[in-house]
């Protein structure tokens, strides 16, 4: 497994040299130390509203923080939706009233008003090179 990882990182650095970007997402406030974080990356308002992620990750939870890498990507505006699949059933659990019962968060730690956070509030600029973005469950 060392070789593909090496190749990937080589691809990554050459891509970045071409003016593309990466995002390192740091997540804190993970309250339950089991299950997976399910993370979706979006690159447009249409994709955000229409639930068409351009990339996704399913990351095992090992503590109260986590780090997720996306890239290489073209520079631009991106948004992230994330939930903590505590019971590993592959979906955001909701209760009888449809209220999510597993933790979730949006990039910029944006909050929805009467639903998911809106693209203008949750999207952030990604420049060429390495970008850091911090998210938090609360």
């Amino acid at each position: 497994m060392i070789l593909p990882a090496f190749i990937l990182s080589a691809v990554l650095s050459s891509a970045m040299a071409d003016g593309t970007a990466s995002i390192t997402v740091t997540v804190d406030g993970i309250e339950i130390g089991s299950g997976h974080l399910v993370v979706g990356l979006y690159d447009s308002a249409e994709g955000w509203d229409g639930e068409t992620a351009i990339d996704g990750r399913r990351v095992a939870v090992t503590g109260d923080v986590a780090e997720i890498e996306f890239g290489p990507l073209p520079a631009g505006r991106y948004g992230i939706k994330m939930y903590h699949d505590v019971d590993d059933d592959g979906q955001l659990d909701t209760n009888l009233m449809g209220i999510p019962s597993e933790p979730f968060a949006f990039s910029n730690n944006a909050m929805g008003r009467f639903g998911p956070a809106a693209w203008p509030d949750a999207s952030f600029a990604v420049d060429a090179g390495e970008n850091a973005h911090a998210m938090s469950f609360r």
């Binding site: 939930y83 009888l96 209220i99 999510p100 019962s101 933790p103 929805g112 008003r113």
Partner: protein, 501 residues
């Protein structure tokens, strides 16, 4: 991969649901509400009831004023109410926003009552206590720079009532989970989850317990004209929870049970559209009737409805059902919601005025089969916090105890009243004018209805101290048979429960 929009929209459902409208800018030099309250305090001793309790809580021993603890009255009185209203010199706008402060009074023969108070350590409390400021929107307030909410219990203040359930103490709030506490230490455990798919659902502050120990409760989803109904076994295990639709989004705080029915009165403070703070989603709509709904306990799809004159209520006394299905019920009702949308804001500014003080009176309703109904009012004074001999929950009974006050009395109730629902007669004891009385809880002693004690706390604003009084529930007019006073004042609370020794 993600919940659909409709599901996420449901985030907004419970009183909990609202997520972050940006708050007002935080750099304002002074909060006018905070400053108005501080300015009023020296002149208005009643404001003690709406002042912040210490974050660490309170511990003390009450000194005897008169009488002695009646034989057999041993146990713990628990009470809950809002106890923290301001942070960083910014004050909540509405009384119901304050964080829940649970109090215990240990009554033991030959001993002075031992009192303790602890804030319910909700997620909200812990995060805001750590941050030193309010972080989330409250029921009636949007603190500066609030962060919004990401979960259903994010704004749960656990501030309305308490119940004992199979040895657990639960702090209750209308819009979210019951919060579990250790009944001996009052330490918080966390939200009660009744079963799969039930986390974060509202479990309201006025559960009813049948004589066989079955617990009934509801939670309201006003935005979607729905209720969640709960049936819990005496051992605290879930028997059933489900959604019931077509219940108008009038703010429902309390309900009644009969042997056969769950009875809801839907007043005219109606959900209009989602606004923040949440309370502002409701508007008075006197153009429609008040709606009474009786849902069959055994089959939640079966219901009967009645249209009543417009009105508003927080609290029901109790109900029973005749063999022909007629439902008899008493409730503290008013013609408008002036306290909920007026007075409860005023007190936070240190203002008490005739125009916004509650005008609730005890009413009797008779709901006949076929939709006909009758209503009568006891018009000899105002009434709130109706209490019954809980052994007769859902059964025919004669007495309701409540706090009372008169027109012009704007600083809180002074009277403890026993009402005979049949004859209309009252027994009334009036404390001094500078005493604000709280809910009188009935504690049974003998077998007959009303044979027992009334235990109630009160804020003595002259002494700046909270008191505990015990009355003979059959002889309320005689006044306390025993009274004690703490060396400090506690914020006024809402509701309590009794745990026998």
């Amino acid at each position: 991969m993600f919940a659909n929009r409709r599901e996420m929209i449901a985030l907004m459902t419970a009183a909990g649901g609202m997520a972050g409208l940006p708050g007002p800018a935080r750099a304002e030099p002074g909060d006018p509400v905070f400053e108005a309250f501080e300015a009023a305090r020296p002149e208005q001793p009643w404001t003690l009831g709406y002042a912040d309790a210490p974050a660490a809580g309170l511990d003390g021993v009450a000194q005897r004023l008169t009488g002695r603890l009646p034989e057999g009255l041993e146990g713990v009185l628990y009470r809950n109410g809002p106890g923290r209203f301001s942070r960083e010199n910014w004050r909540y706008r509405h009384w119901f926003d304050g964080d829940g402060l649970v109090q215990s009074w240990h009554l033991e023969a030959g001993e002075a009552p031992v009192h303790a108070a602890r804030f319910v350590e909700t997620r909200k409390w812990r995060r805001e206590e750590a941050a030193g400021r309010f972080l989330v929107p409250a029921f009636g307030s949007a603190p500066p720079d609030e962060e919004g909410l990401s979960g259903p219990d994010g704004m749960n203040a656990a501030n309305t009532s308490v119940m004992m359930l199979d040895g657990d103490l639960l702090a209750l709030w209308e819009g979210g989970s019951a919060w579990q506490l250790d009944p001996d230490t009052l330490q918080s455990d966390g939200p009660r989850v009744w079963g799969d798919g039930l986390a974060g659902l509202p479990f309201s502050a006025h559960p009813k317990v049948d004589p066989d120990g079955t617990v009934w409760n509801f939670g309201q989803d006003a935005a979607r004209n729905a209720l969640v109904l709960w049936q819990i076994a005496p051992d605290g295990s879930l028997r059933r929870a489900d959604m019931v639709g077509d219940v108008p989004g009038g703010m429902i705080h309390d309900f009644a049970v009969t042997e056969r029915s769950l009875v809801f009165l839907v007043g005219n403070l109606r959900f209009e559209r989602m606004r923040l703070p949440y309370l502002e989603s409701f508007r008075w709509d006197g153009s429609r009737p008040m709606r009474a709904i009786a849902i069959d306990k055994a089959d939640w799809s079966q219901r009967r409805t009645w249209d009543l004159p417009p009105g508003f209520l927080f609290h029901v006394g109790g109900a029973w059902e005749r063999t022909d299905g007629t439902i008899c019920l008493d409730a503290a009702m008013s013609g408008d919601a002036r306290f909920a949308i007026g007075g409860a804001y005023d007190v936070m500014r240190g203002v008490a005025r005739e125009e916004t003080v509650s005008q609730a009176r005890l009413h009797r309703l008779v709901l006949y089969p076929g939709g006909r109904s009758e209503q009568s009012v006891f018009d000899d004074g105002y009434a709130e916090f109706p209490q019954v001999d809980m052994r007769l929950t859902g059964l025919e009974r004669r007495y309701t105890w409540h706090v009372g006050w008169q027109p012009g009395q704007i600083q809180g109730p002074t009277d403890i009243v026993r009402r005979d629902l049949v004859s209309g007669a009252t027994q009334r004891f009036s404390h001094d004018a500078d005493v604000i009385v709280e809910e009188p809880l009935f504690v049974p002693a003998g077998p007959a209805e009303g044979e027992g004690w009334l235990v109630h706390t009160a804020l003595n604003t002259r002494a700046a101290a909270t008191e505990l009084h015990v009355l003979d529930a059959r002889n309320v007019g005689d006044g306390p048979v025993a009274s004690w006073r703490l060396p400090y004042a506690c914020p006024l609370g809402f509701h309590g429960c009794w745990r026998p020794a």
